[in-house]
Amino acid sequence: MAIYLDHAATTPLRPEVLEVYTRALSVTGNPSSIHGQGQSAKRVLEEAREQLAEALNCDPVEVVFTSGGTEAVNTAVKGIYWARTAGAVGGRRVLLPGGEHHATVDTVAWLEAHEGARIEELPIDHEARLAPESVGAALEDEDAALVTLLWANNEVGTVQDVVRIAAIAGESGVPVHADAVAALGYVPVDFRSSGLAAMSVSAHKVGGPVGVGALVLGRSATAQPLVHGGGQQRGIRSGTQDVAGAVAFAAAATLAVGGLDERATRLSGLRDRLIGGIRDAVPGAVLRGAPAGASRLPGNAHFTFPGCDGDSLLFLLDMAGISVSTGAACQAGVADVSHVLLAMGVPEQEARGALRVSLGEDTSGEDIEALLRVLPEAVARAQRAGHADRVPSALR
């Protein structure tokens, strides 16, 4: 059995979640139906909504279930943009840090191409951190539609000071959306005290199933829907509601949030052992993102290794039975050079050697030791293979 160290991509379904998920799948009835079976389904759904709201510390009415994080982000960013620009002449600004997830980057690019939005990318530093003051400065002009940012960066694990950023934006009355997909279950995510207008989360990153997410849309926030139809969920997200998915997400989120302190402590310990082990074993390996500590996700270790391609390393580790990631987005199986690392100012050649190891609930100390045993040889081999653009010796 392969050792799974790619929890940032997706997490194993927790057995407790599987149990309630499969039980809920057998509930017959559309929660929008009037009859008794519909009412039963509705009751199960609303209990799940309440349970998820409790885990996220928001009101149940603020929870809009979606098909996942990407849909939640799209709904928040486009929906709030549309609501804020309705009736206005000309486009308005969307503020976001560099190095955001593609769900945001591509959504904002679409708004620019089709709706006349003006993108203002706020610089992040070499640790992927956004300076809250830069948001204040950018909001001095009054034409901003919204600010959107990752609560925690999915590649390099840097946690932003979301609360301060939301407070600063709040002074200008500009709504802030946070993509908390990578943060939930690893750092405290409290919607009510965050000052955010909207927040996106996803079930499969916290031991739940793929295909369920939620947009937390504050009571006072308004958003236009992406999906039109039967008017379910405040009219923000039409479509027959996924009762079992909601139940599973609620159960997973409850477990994730409930065990957060213990998990964060345990994973930070494993992560620090991993980071120390890599630094000892591989000269030139550079930890990317925030230093180990409160501003880094406890399960994230992201390195660049000099003189090799991350995909060679990934391949060699895969052959050794260890699943990791280069961290970057894939197109047809090919990882691009990470736009996150480039936004952090990492030179392109160094960025090619990126490898993300992400720990989770089921990660053991032995998993970390197993990785540390094979990594030095894998790096040495990958360095022999060099970069994909090297001139072959047959042509030299």
């Binding site: 995909d311 060679s312 391949f315 060699l316 895969d318 052959m319 197109q331 047809a332 199986g333 090919v334 990882a335 081999r381 990958a382 022999r384 293979a385 060099g386 994909a388 653009d389 090297r390 001139v391 072959p392 010796s393 047959a394 042509l395």
Partner: protein
């Protein structure tokens, strides 16, 4: 694994032979298209998916390796530069020489693999001393030994061609179907993979500057105008639009393209006949001949699907010089002349210069 039937069956046979096989699809295009159109298209997402599904079926791991930067530099840019120099390149050959059996092979060896296995129709045969020789495939109609003629002994040492001994392509398709490979009836790819609509002239016109110039005859007399010398190929007859007929009234053909003076040289068909061709960029596919400086009998093939012609070869002044026993038509600088002895590929050269068989040529 390109996503085609040949590489899928080659992989299957390598698995059957007991090798530890990993499927690799090469991402070569900087901007992969989304879906295939007919038999055209280059490393589309669909081709990558077809390759992945074939690997799934065979139960082997599968990865996509990105060589798009090298492909652009070593194949696409070379293709453009060769045309810009008035030559006629063969990009498939360059891809084998520089990508599949260089960039890919070297990365694979460094990562711990022993060989690159492809779906090419060609055979590797061991001579009496155990040296590897490259030979034509059993199915002469599908034989692809020509495009592998650039491989050196070192590259052949790490090459596997499991389809070489297959009697026919039809059998490969049947085998794919019997193995449950969905690509069994996928059309063969044609044309140049990176020119997705097959319009090579149009593609080149966007990348090579075309300037109007003159068409001259072998004496250097001006006989017409052209809109860009590089838009012509040696041997071309149509589209010359020469106002005045030749003195003898017979059709004229493109004999030569002179990129520096931007001239197109035309003349009668006999002047196209080539008595000698030579190139300084040559290689031996496996063990070289004992004494290449002494003329030896061979066959020369100048295109992937042309017939081999009897010739005499000799290595002279750093050039591989080939003298066909009767003059050859349709030979242009930039093409590769592959030298055969029987079914064996002995080596090749990229043609730098040709000598016309017509005595009057200036």
């Amino acid at each position: 694994m390109s996503g085609g039937v040949d590489s899928a069956v080659a992989a299957a046979r390598a698995v059957d032979a007991g090798h530890d096989v990993v499927g690799v699809h090469l991402a070569l295009s900087r901007m992969p298209g989304t879906l295939r159109t007919g038999s055209r298209g280059c490393c589309t997402i669909e081709d990558s998916m077809d390759a992945r599904r074939a690997a799934d079926r065979l139960g082997i791991p599968f990865y996509v390796w990105d060589f798009s930067e090298r492909f652009k530099l070593d194949v696409v840019d070379d293709f453009i530069a060769e045309y810009a120099s008035g030559r006629t390149p063969n990009p498939c050959m360059r891809c084998n020489e520089r990508i599949k059996f260089a960039a890919l092979l070297e990365k694979a060896l460094d990562l711990g693999f022993d060989a690159v296995c492809t779906g090419h129709y060609a055979s590797i045969v061991l001579d009496a001393d155990g040296n590897r020789e490259l030979h034509r495939a059993s199915d002469e109609a599908k034989d692809q030994s020509y495009v592998l003629g650039v491989l050196t002994a070192q590259q052949l040492a790490h090459a596997l061609f499991p389809l070489g001994s297959t009697p026919s392509k039809a059998q490969v398709r049947d085998e794919a179907a019997a193995r449950g490979l969905a690509v069994a009836s996928k059309p063969d790819s044609h044309d140049i993979c990176f020119i997705s609509d097959g319009d090579t002239r149009g593609w080149l016109a966007e990348r090579v500057e075309l300037k109007p110039g003159t068409i001259v005859d072998s004496d250097g007399s001006r006989v017409g105008e052209h809109e860009g010398a590089l838009a012509y190929t040696v041997g071309q007859r149509r589209g010359l639009r020469l106002g005045t007929p030749a003195p003898d009234g017979r059709p004229r053909f493109v004999l030569e393209i002179r990129p520096v003076s931007n001239e197109v040289v035309v003349g009668p068909k006999e002047a196209l006949a080539i008595a000698e061709l030579a190139g300084s960029r040559f290689s031996w596919a496996g063990r070289p001949p004992a004494d290449p400086a002494t003329p030896f009998e061979c066959f020369v093939q100048i295109r992937a699907h042309s017939d081999p012609e009897p010739a005499v070869a000799v290595l002279r002044d750093g050039e591989l010089v080939l003298t066909p026993s009767s003059p050859l038509l349709g030979v242009a600088p930039g093409q590769t002349a592959v030298v055969y002895v029987g079914t064996r590929v002995l080596g090749q050269c990229t043609i730098d210069r040709t000598v016309s068989a017509a005595p009057a040529r200036v």
